[in-house]
Symmetry: C2
Subunit: 678 residues, 2 copies
């Protein structure tokens, strides 16, 4: 069977499911009055951000496209201009595909939030379905397009290298969407908390707060669009990395077979996920993930039997998948509500915020061990398993492990996009005054979203790790093909070590710049909120008919996040180019390794410490160690505020940064070979 064609078919099928869910959600009972108004504000705010982001991205993409036309894969006066043009086109398509998926995701998320909120009147089960199916639209849209793109490129051009350009387009979008969205969401979140909860003592989603709509918009642009772009990026990058090797080995069919069956398993997973009225939504989400995993393993095993694929490669895929689950489960241990670390941090908070920070940070550091070891073991296991097949099969094993880990990503994204939708639904229930029963139900749905988020982030980090390791292999492939005498990147070569040290510093600088951006930006927003409270009569008191100027806050978040993001992204990309043009490919090899190592370490640390602080605060609020209003609670809130940009801005953006840098390196490998100082 031609699995490339089947991939196209399954992708279209998944798009159909996405369309079906979109309509299913849209047809649910619509809102009216205040709820409708607030919902519309959120929707408008999200699209305002998206439009501006895409405009800037448009400029960026155009500039890069011109550079590609001029120089890539070789300067147009040396090579063929057609080669360059094709790559430029697919680079643009990469960002367009991802961009459309993001826009669709935002569109449904800002419909589903209102629907889920209203559906909660009818009970837990209908509300869950509205939230989950809304999220699944995003899940299906992202995964289908990320499989469709590489499949179409291969069908049209037969040249797997071009997928690298497509992947770089997707990564560029991801950088803007994830890091920009991350700055946006935390700017609004922190400013809203500081002025609302801390200064005025009003509830989280009180409509008097001028930042409250921006906060809800942030959930959508950061967690829905941003996260979707991030995983689209990882997914495409893993195809880009493995196709280079698979082509040489004639294993393209297997690759697309695994991709198509993973998507099929995800489709089934999202179709069957549901929860009973008295059931636990968290179990439904995780149950769907596990079901998808099992289906993937069974389907691909059957395919290997029927098609005569190498079973060792199947084993590599399963190793990757299991590693993803293990990393997810350990993340859950370090951040879970009912686990020891969260409890210990909540307990330590009684001695003051310094201890909240110190203990949470320490657990974050500890949590890096299982994640890094899991990625290392998966890569090693997949390699060793496929080594007997000879040649490049061992390296292929690592990229198939990444494909395996990402196989269930359709389900993962659905779970993850569910989170901000029900989080929004909760806010809407409060702002739309739907009553305590509805708030309780949406609260319960929201908590389930937090639990599954830990597992998702584990998958995202693990997948990024395996993907970039295989991108490093792809980079080496390209060098070898260029005919340069190449004996690997030797750690004893000081130019490699030099690259490693620089590469290791980049994620640190990148994440610092993002966090400083959040800091600066949220302080601007706090000033604006104070201005509104001081100048708009009756706002603080909640006088009937008086409304804050929500759009001012949305504007600050939008403009600020995009301005803060650009220098950070440029630092990562330019450093790569400087290292390459100065130190050559050997320096870049080290640079990528250093970048991966320190990037994964910092990402896990920040993701988990941030999640832990969030849940420690919630644990205190649930009545432990003094409960709401106690000293421990104040300390917990401080920990949560520190954790916000850790877990929602810097941590997850590092995934994208690593991928972007790896792709830039692969794309420019030939240039580095031709034009480097050393």
């Amino acid at each position: 069977m031609d699995w490339v064609i089947i991939s196209v078919i399954v992708s279209v099928l998944a798009l159909g499911v996405a369309a079906y869910f979109y309509m299913w959600v849209s047809k649910l009972e619509g809102a009216s009055g205040k709820l409708d108004k607030v919902g519309t504000l959120i929707r408008k705010g999200a699209f305002t951000f998206l439009k501006r982001e895409y405009k800037i991205l448009g400029i960026f993409v155009s500039v890069v496209a011109v550079i590609i036309i001029l120089f890539y894969p070789s300067p147009f006066w040396i090579g063929s201009i057609t080669d360059n043009l094709i790559r430029a086109v697919f680079f643009v398509l990469g960002s367009v595909f991802s961009g459309i998926a993001g826009a669709v995701g935002i569109s449904i998320a800002t419909i589903a939030n209102v629907k889920a909120s209203l559906a909660a009147k009818r009970g837990l089960s209908p509300s869950f379905m509205a939230g989950f199916r809304g999220g699944a639209v995003m899940g299906m849209a992202v995964v289908s397009t990320s499989l469709l793109g590489p499949a179409l490129i291969y069908l049209l051009t037969g040249n797997p290298d071009i997928v690298l350009a497509f992947s770089f387009g997707a990564s560029s979008l991801a950088l803007f969407a994830k890091a920009g969205g991350g700055i946006f969401t935390k700017t609004a979140d922190i400013a809203a908390d500081l002025t609302g909860k801390v200064e005025l003592g009003i509830a989280e989603d009180d409509p008097r707060n001028p930042a409250v709509i921006a906060d809800n918009v942030g959930d959508n642009v950061g967690d829905v669009a941003g996260m979707g772009a991030d995983l689209f990026d990882s997914n495409v990058a893993s195809y880009a990395a493995s196709m280079t090797i698979a082509a040489a080995l004639g294993q393209m069919n297997l690759l697309f077979c695994f991709g198509a069956l993973g998507l099929l398993a995800s489709i089934i997973g999202v179709l069957v996920a549901r929860v009973k009225e008295d059931g636990e939504p968290g179990k439904a989400l995780n149950g769907g993930t596990y079901l998808t995993c099992i289906l993937f393993a069974v389907f691909t095993f059957a395919a290997c039997m029927l098609e005569g694929f190498e079973l060792r490669l199947w084993g590599a895929a399963v190793i990757g998948m299991i590693a993803g689950v293990i990393i997810g489960v350990t993340s859950d241990f370090f951040t879970g509500d009912d686990k020891k670390p969260v409890d210990k941090v909540a307990e330590a908070s009684q001695s003051g915020p310094a201890f909240t920070i110190l203990s949470g940070f320490s657990y974050g550091l500890l949590s890096s061990f299982p994640s890094l070891a899991g990625i290392g073991l998966a890569a090693l296991g997949a390699y060793k398993l496929c080594e007997p097949l000879g040649g490049d099969y061992a390296l292929m094993g690592i990229s198939v492990a990444a494909i395996g880990m990402l196989s269930v990503v359709g389900m993962i994204i659905s779970n993850d996009a569910y989170g901000p939708i029900v989080d929004n639904a909760r806010g809407l229930a409060e702002m739309g005054e739907l009553g305590d029963d509805v708030i309780d139900i949406t609260d319960k749905l929201d908590a389930a979203g937090n639990t599954s988020k830990a597992i998702t982030k584990g998958f995202a980090v693990g997948a990024a790790g395996l993907t970039v390791i295989s991108l490093l292999a792809a980079f080496a492939e390209i060098i070898e093909k260029a005919g340069v005498p190449f004996k690997g990147f030797d750690l004893m070569d000081p130019i490699v070590m030099f690259g490693m040290l620089i590469g290791a510093a980049v994620p640190a600088v990148f994440s610092a710049m993002l966090m400083m951006g959040v800091n600066r930006n949220s302080q601007k927003m706090v000033k604006e909120i104070h201005r509104q409270f001081n100048t708009i009569d009756g706002l603080k008191e909640g006088k009937e008919g008086v409304e804050p100027e929500y759009d001012k806050c949305i504007d600050i978040a939008t403009v600020g996040s995009l301005r803060e993001l650009i220098p950070a992204g440029l630092v990562a990309i330019l450093t790569t180019l400087v290292v390459g043009f100065v130190g050559g490919v050997n320096a870049v090899g080290g640079y990528l390794a250093g970048n991966i190592i320190s990037g994964l370490l910092l990402a896990v640390l920040m993701d988990n410490a941030g999640g832990l602080w969030d849940n420690a605060k919630k644990r205190i609020e649930a009545g432990h160690y003094g409960g709401k209003g106690s000293e421990a609670h104040k300390a917990g809130v401080i920990g949560d505020t520190v954790g916000d940009p850790f877990k929602d801005t810097a941590g997850p953006s590092i995934n994208t940064q690593i991928t972007v840098v790896s792709l830039v390196a692969s794309l420019c490998a030939q240039l580095f070979i031709n034009f480097s100082l050393f």
Copy 2:
């Protein structure tokens, strides 16, 4: 000239200077009454800790010595038992040398603190001299013994490999002294601050606080003995690494020439350092450092001319030295009192502690770039400079750069040990009621200590970085000599990548365990302080004749720090052994590289963020952004508390951890070759 012999002579000369300073300080006016009593308490407490530490260390050293006799360099039933015995003896001597230097340092520091405090009655200049010359005893003792040891070993055995065993002995001690001392000092510091400053609102060194003596003891065991052991360790390790290569190249004479002249330059530096009555002590400290640097460069250049040494190797040493200065200066930028980062963090503190933490942490992340790049550039520059000499000269260049960076270490340690002495003097002035003038002078001296500390830490990290890079080279040397087919550690080999990922997680886990130890321990001490305040009548009120039970707190810090340290040290050592016996030497090569990269990153981050928070608090206390008692000040205090274990426990201990792990790897290389799973 035989520079090995000259090294012995200069070492003895430096010991003479140490003895002279010891007597000079001892002869200063002695204390009486309350001051004498408190001074004696501190001295007794420090020696209590030292005795217990050395007892545990004795057990550890004995066990390791037996293991060495049985297995190292080859199991006694295969190789020669004499070889093993010699190594065991020098392993023990390594820790004994370092231990004696530490004890001498503690002894003089706990004399000089009282003398400096009393001398402040006569003015700034005499007080500075008492503090600085006290510190210089430690500086001279450490550097002379760390040169004497390797020189004697080479004279006696002619076998540079044996220095590895000596170095491992020194590292074992450093691990106990630095990490144990670091836990001790922060346990007491945090507990004293929490109960004294925060709960009761009494001054930092108020004698009513049961933890106040423990706090002053901590300064000595952490900053004097711990830091001395750390730099002794780096110094010896840099000889160990370079001697292996130098022997093969017949460059041993140059190595000891540079070592001896560096020590000579330091001797001159410490002899001329002084400050006028109206001068700035900070300038005197830094001026001494710069003078030492210049003298070293001039002396060694002259020696190269006279002896016909390779000028390229001289260049490598100078590159290392300059890199050290640059790293020091950038650390100073990120942590300096009057620089932008500190001011920004102080400003951000007005919005609450979360922003103190976020902005300080971000600057800490940023600061990693210049340090890592500096180390990378120094290694690369030294390598490239010496490459034309052929063969292993390029690698020798890197280790000579480390020697160059460490050349001025005698001066550096003197400056650093000066810090806790004058810090103690300040406390003693308060507890001994010497009046406001004296407190002002000691305050000024104390502030100068903080400034020079940043530069010192920059040197320490840089030196550790270069040293471990050359230890990695030494490790490769050993593998090559063992006759194993060895083509370097290839990043594309997944077993290397696996090692790297695990290696990168180790410093994170190690530092987390230390910080959690501080957390646990200080909470225990807080309970004890509360008990004393509640059960000892009149203590809180400061009734005449009522005294707290200081020794109880010293006891908690001592027992706790040693108990918390052992698991952290074992994790680092055992992980190395597991990786080696499972993955073999290739995994260990990657493991060391990952350990270096992530260790340096985390060390710089923690050192600088911690120093920055400390100074941001001080800046607020100096009257900026609301001054003492303001919201910004409260936030600053929280930042400082978080920073305490960052900068004084975890950060600097990581240096030692990296060195220990590198030495374990080199020592066990042959075992890994013979007995590994893969």
